[in-house]
Symmetry: C2
Subunit: 234 residues, 2 copies
Amino acid sequence: MDIRALTFDVFGTVVDWRNSIAREVAAVAQKKGVKLDPHEFADAWRNLYQPAMERVRTGGRGFVKLDVLHRENLEELLPKFGLGGLSEAERDDLNRAWHRLDPWPDVVEGLTRLKKKFILATLSNGNVALMVNMAKRAGLPWDTILGAEVARAYKPQPQAYNSAVDMLGLKPEQVALVAAHNGDLVAASKCGLRTCFVLRPDEHGPKQKTDTKAEHKFDYVATSFIDLADKLGA
Amino acid sequence: MDIRALTFDVFGTVVDWRNSIAREVAAVAQKKGVKLDPHEFADAWRNLYQPAMERVRTGGRGFVKLDVLHRENLEELLPKFGLGGLSEAERDDLNRAWHRLDPWPDVVEGLTRLKKKFILATLSNGNVALMVNMAKRAGLPWDTILGAEVARAYKPQPQAYNSAVDMLGLKPEQVALVAAHNGDLVAASKCGLRTCFVLRPDEHGPKQKTDTKAEHKFDYVATSFIDLADKLGA
């Protein structure tokens, strides 16, 4: 294999969105004196994610960046959790919690090693500003930000993967997707990319039922970014 | 001023394209036993740059990335300089000389300091792969690659600047363009961006007549990226 670039799914694969969002929501709830289960809020917010992108994928609306979808979904959730009284500035700040997600503990060390051997790019449905702000805060050493906003298509649409390959100036087989989600990797594989499954058994909390193992024959299967660096000789 | 992100013109501002291209062409000419003036070749190649982009800007052809324009222009030049016998692989490699340009001596130190305080993004007419490969080789610590390919518009078209501002999720006045070219900065300023002129008096060699000084009232005027870091308190 002649892999030159690693592209990364981000939510769940690189960062722990569930605990990070719960942390931010808990702080807001405490400030407002509202009682809620912050992990339930995080799950509810994330549950609106795929349906919102699906409207864009199916042409029900033109491309809009994920910050906009997150905000629309937040508006729907706030009154249900007793947070309907948040000001515009508070809503905007809470929406930017997605820019402040924490990486899994192995990520920065693993990426730092992988960067010496490979081009590292995001291939996320998150928009550019979200990815840039997250990386600055968390110390994620991306060479560049690719993905939905640049491709103007949400994964798993082929255009999202094909656009990244084209912009990197490489052949599909010279680009690998690193992801904790079987479906994302299968879609990338159909576009000719190499595949690296990294297990994230806690992404959805203690009761996680999906993506608890590699369900297909991927090129690499790893338990962390450090394990992936070992397996890729980086 | 509340500048959050610095965006950079690259050819001439960050890297010394003229001496770098001359170095690569001289090596090819020597290998082929051809006598030529490598700086004359570099200038001739660069002279075809604006007219090639102008056809895209005016709608004479759809957007194509700069690697393609460079290659078309190279095909035109090679026979004129006695290098018409280059193989496909040799032409491809010489075209990628633009991916291997050297930074000016102050650049890496200046960017490293600036990165602690600001988001750093390219805002170049060079395509993503060109920018990524250049950065890997030269150690340019960009947070992300923006510019013509992502915007699908060549500077100085407003869309090139507006797209970068939009993708960074900032207001125009929170984004500055750093450039050694008066015209680029004037165009950015018309889109509401802040402006930083950095003098590069040797970009076009010893006889340089253009951009030998800041010709307008820019927000910052500096003699190097280190000087710029000083002036921006980074």
